[in-house]
């Protein structure tokens, strides 16, 4: 079995579960901090999504375990909650500094009408912050919107392969 992994970080709350569930249909296992969903591509290929809660002072997770088959990282924060970006920011910076896999920073919105920037500004591939880091708005309850985030990670990988 060939596996691609995506790590999904979010502040304490259920955003990571909602996001993963909207892609995988179900959460296969979960505890307080980590949840796991599987998106089967075919008999030999599978996409694994790990949801990880990040507390402000979190430093203990063994990130390296995830990096062997990693395709990219998704960092979710609640657009309307000023503290939620603060919560994930250190881990986000750490990953940006230490890893080269694509990172998607996802601002979770309930309604697309909340989005302050016209989509044209940040484009279908997200707002490019760096070659490997994009910023997206997303309705995590909407499978189409959530899947687009993973598609974007793959697009960055494909672009980098060209």
């Amino acid at each position: 079995m060939r596996i691609g992994e995506v790590a999904v970080f979010s502040p304490p709350g259920n955003e990571k579960e909602i996001f993963i569930k909207s892609i995988c249909d179900s959460i296969e296992s979960a505890n307080e901090k980590i949840c796991f969903g599987r998106f089967q591509i075919n008999e030999e290929l599978s996409l694994h999504l790990y949801g990880i809660s990040v507390d402000k002072d979190e430093t203990s997770i063994s990130w390296d375990m995830l990096s062997s088959k990693i395709l990219g990282y998704v960092f979710i924060f609640r657009w309307k909650d000023d503290n939620s970006l603060d919560t994930i920011k250190d881990v986000l910076d750490y990953f940006a500094e230490n890893y080269t896999a694509p990172i998607i920073v996802l601002a979770s919105v309930d309604d697309k009408s909340d989005i302050p920037l016209p989509e044209k500004f940040y484009g279908p591939g997200g707002l490019s912050i760096d070659r490997n880091i994009r910023f997206h708005f997303c309705q995590i309850t909407d499978p189409v919107s959530s899947k687009k985030i993973v598609v974007n990670i793959i697009d960055i990988l494909l672009e980098n392969m060209q």
Binding site: I88, A107, K120, L127
Partner: protein, 403 residues
């Protein structure tokens, strides 16, 4: 005979600088070297350099102080100034750029690169001064302050004869006006009518108006009033389409993943063909065989469909508006500092008037972050290269399944 440009180098390490001195002399510059930062200002008074290169870390007088001394001196304030430094910290570079040095070169450097950078600085100065030079019989300025329509209207009112020289990016153009009437317009190899139509849309760049009694043939026979009215209409339409797009010097690329050749029109194909990997929007319009407005409409359409996207190469482009400036500054922050959260925070900053408590809190956060980074750096100096475990076909399979 061309006078030799003079370069003053201030550095305490004479051996290190000797290669650069030789190379600059070979390139035709008159070079003077001095090791004492404090005395360098006096030396500048005598030597009257055209450019100064100084080490940042001077024991007698640090490079920043020397820079300030030079810039407060009215005669030297416009002299280009380059810092040399063996410090590689991004903060140092940013600090130097912030105080206004023209370039910052990290040691060790390639002598050829330094020479090339110096030549670039001189060539930029020359270009700027060329654009500003007036013959004494005209005036000059910038098109964002006064565009071609405004210029011609001014000449029309005064019934003046002049050659209007326009420059935008690497493009030069001319418009010939006789007694307030437009006689001719030249841009690339375009017919006069097309050239004028295109030049009416230039809202960036510079102009120089040279009054002249020179005679020139008339190739534009329509009344100037009609041409101007057409120009105003085109400007309005151009501005309308432009609103939907990023600034025109934005570099765009074809989004190969979204692009579907079968679903695009022949006109769109013509535009796509002009983009070889990356191109500035304005260059695409300029090279397009179609009318400018038509071309811009097509670019807008392709952009909306997602077939065109902003290229990563934009990090070198000049910011054009506030949003773009923020984005590019943030991008620069990231590429040098990797502080993505600051980028995102700034991007999403909802209240510009942050109160003092918030500022203090952010400072504390930053301090903590710096400490934590130091820890991480000690632990692992090299960023981890994530090898992509899956191959292209597998990635495409996942992509297809997700859509």
């Amino acid at each position: 005979m061309r006078t030799k440009k003079k370069i003053l180098i201030v550095d305490e390490d004479a051996n290190y600088i000797s290669g650069l001195r030789k190379e600059l002399t070979k390139a035709g510059y008159e070079v003077i070297y001095w090791s004492d930062g404090k005395k360098a200002l006096d030396l500048s008074n005598n030597f009257r350099p055209d450019l100064i290169i100084s080490e940042v870390d001077l024991t007698t007088n640090d490079g920043h102080a020397f820079f300030r001394d030079i810039k407060t001196h009215s005669e030297f304030k416009d002299i280009p100034f380059i810092f040399l430094s063996s410090q590689k910290r991004v903060d140092d570079r940013i600090k130097s750029m912030e105080i206004g040095v023209d370039d910052f070169i990290a040691k060790p450097f390639y002598v050829e690169e330094v020479v090339a950078r110096i030549e670039n600085i001189f060539s930029e100065i020359k270009q700027n001064s060329d654009a500003r030079i007036t013959s004494g019989k005209g005036f000059s300025g910038y098109l964002h302050e006064m565009n071609l329509v405004d210029l011609i209207q001014t000449l029309e009112v005064g019934q003046k004869s002049a050659i209007i020289k326009l420059n935008f990016n690497d493009y030069d153009a001319r418009v010939y006006v006789r007694n307030g009437e437009i006689f001719d317009a030249r841009f690339l190899d375009l017919p006069a009518n097309d050239a004028l139509a295109r030049l009416f849309l230039w809202t960036e760049g510079s102009y120089q108006v040279e009054f002249t009694k020179e005679d020139f043939p008339r190739t534009l026979n329509q009344p100037t009033e009609k041409l101007l009215s057409e120009g105003i209409k085109r400007n309005a339409r151009w501005d309308q389409i432009k609103k939907n797009l990023p600034p025109l010097n934005t570099i765009v690329a074809i989004n190969k993943i979204a692009y579907e050749e079968n679903s695009i029109s022949n006109d769109e194909k013509q535009i796509i063909r002009l983009i070889n990997k990356h191109a500035k929007i304005y260059d695409i319009i300029t090279k397009s065989p179609l009318d400018d407005i038509k071309s811009l409409e097509i670019v807008d359409n392709l952009y909306r469909k997602g077939y065109l996207q902003e290229s990563n190469k934009n990090y070198q482009a000049q910011p054009q508006n506030q949003v773009e400036r923020i984005k590019q500054n943030l991008t620069r922050d990231h590429s040098e500092n990797h502080n993505v959260s600051a980028i995102i925070s700034n991007l999403l900053k909802k209240n510009s008037d942050a109160n003092i408590l918030e500022i203090e809190k952010r400072r504390d956060d930053r301090r903590q972050l710096v400490d934590r980074r130091r820890y991480h750096r000690r632990r692992n100096d090299i960023p981890k290269e994530n090898k992509i475990y899956l191959d292209r076909t597998e990635l495409l399979l996942i992509r297809e399944k997700l859509l």
